[in-house]
């Protein structure tokens, strides 16, 4: 199975195989180009030597022979080079964790643990919302208390006010003035009754 070397790709920014492929293609291009140049130079030279009896086709065969030999060696050597580079240079050993993946070592959360953490956060959010609205309810009650307290104090003030009036005008408490008033009222009613009878 082909090792995709995804982790190496994450680190290098390219897959090692792609890099080797690019180098391979470049090398091969150079090789072909060079051989073409060599053949062109030789052919040009031969033009000057018309009676030497060597045909361009002959030179082409020579070129192909040399190129074929080189190509075989090239492939073999490149294969070895690639293997070494992929194993020893462009490779991240299995025990190595890249710095940017440190979180996976520090926080190896399983799916369940992750879900539990999310649930806990959701529950905390709900709880916070409840506390916020509880706070609002408490503040609303404080406002209500102000109104009720003001009302009760008004009533109480009413009582106290009356007491003060009595004390000011009658120099005694309401209770005392009532106590004083009631018997004289009684007498007065009796007197009144007498007068009415006598007048009859």
């Amino acid at each position: 199975s082909v090792n995709p070397m995804a982790y190496e790709a994450q680190f290098f920014g390219f897959t090692p195989q792609t890099c080797m492929l690019r180098v391979y293609a470049a090398f091969q291009d150079y090789l072909f180009d060079m051989m073409l140049v060599v053949e062109t130079v030789i052919l040009k030279k031969l033009e000057g030597l018309s009676e030497c009896g060597i045909s361009p086709l002959h030179i082409r065969k020579s070129t192909e022979k040399f190129l074929l030999f080189l190509q075989e060696n090239f492939d073999e050597l490149f294969g070895k080079m690639e293997e070494m580079l992929l194993q020893l240079v462009l490779n991240i050993p299995k025990n190595v964790l890249l710095p940017e993946d440190k979180v996976h070592k520090d926080y190896p959360y399983s799916k369940e643990q992750f879900q539990a953490l999310q649930d806990e956060i959701h529950q905390l959010q709900e709880q916070y919302k409840a506390e916020v609205s509880a706070g609002q309810a408490l503040r609303a009650e404080l406002e209500e208390q102000k109104v009720v307290q003001a009302e009760l104090e008004k009533i109480l003030q009413c009582f106290v006010g009356l007491e003060n009036i009595c004390r000011e005008h009658w120099n005694c408490s309401f209770r005392e003035s009532f106590a004083f008033l009631t018997p004289s009222l009684k007498k007065l009613q009796d007197k009144l009754k007498d007068v009415e009878e006598k007048s009859k």
Partner: protein
């Protein structure tokens, strides 16, 4: 380090390739022309080899620069060195984004959780104070009620 190893491996490859394409081999392939022009053959071969070497080295240099390989390979050496004591196979991407992203999200979630816990605690503390005022207010109101009741009884 890896950068050095990279250069060494490529140089070795080049050496062996050049060795494979030796002059003997070259001359052997171009035997008839070599008989005619031995010196020229030699010179062409030399140029061929040096040009090939130069192109390949230039290409490798370009690859090194493009990928900033010198720096990257040195940093990899350092990372590998630091992980020397680690024997267990390290984490690797599973290829499933949701799974691989999980651990990256955990620090933020933990931070968020800590923030929520702090906020919740503050809010509870705040509510405690407000609740104390509310209870004090209730006490005051029941006190007023009692005073009013007392006055009412007195009236009655």
């Amino acid at each position: 380090g890896r950068a050095q190893l990279f250069s060494t491996v490529v140089d070795t490859f080049l050496e062996k390739l050049v060795a494979a394409g030796s002059y003997q081999r070259f001359a052997n392939c171009y035997r008839s022309f070599c008989k005619l022009q031995p010196e020229l053959t030699k010179s062409i071969h030399n140029q061929f080899v040096s040009q090939l070497q130069e192109s390949i080295k230039a290409e490798i240099q370009e690859v090194m620069e493009e990928g900033n390989l010198e720096v990257v390979l040195n940093s990899l050496d350092k990372i590998v060195e630091e992980a020397k004591s680690q024997e267990e196979p390290a984490w690797r991407p599973s290829g499933i984004p949701a799974e691989d992203a999980r651990s990256s999200l955990v620090p933020y979630l933990l931070k968020h959780r800590a923030y929520l816990l702090r906020a919740l605690r503050n809010k509870e503390e705040e509510n405690k104070k407000v609740a104390e005022s509310v209870l004090a207010g209730r006490g005051r109101i029941s006190e007023l009620q009692q005073q009013i009741q007392a006055h009412k009884r007195a009236w009655q």
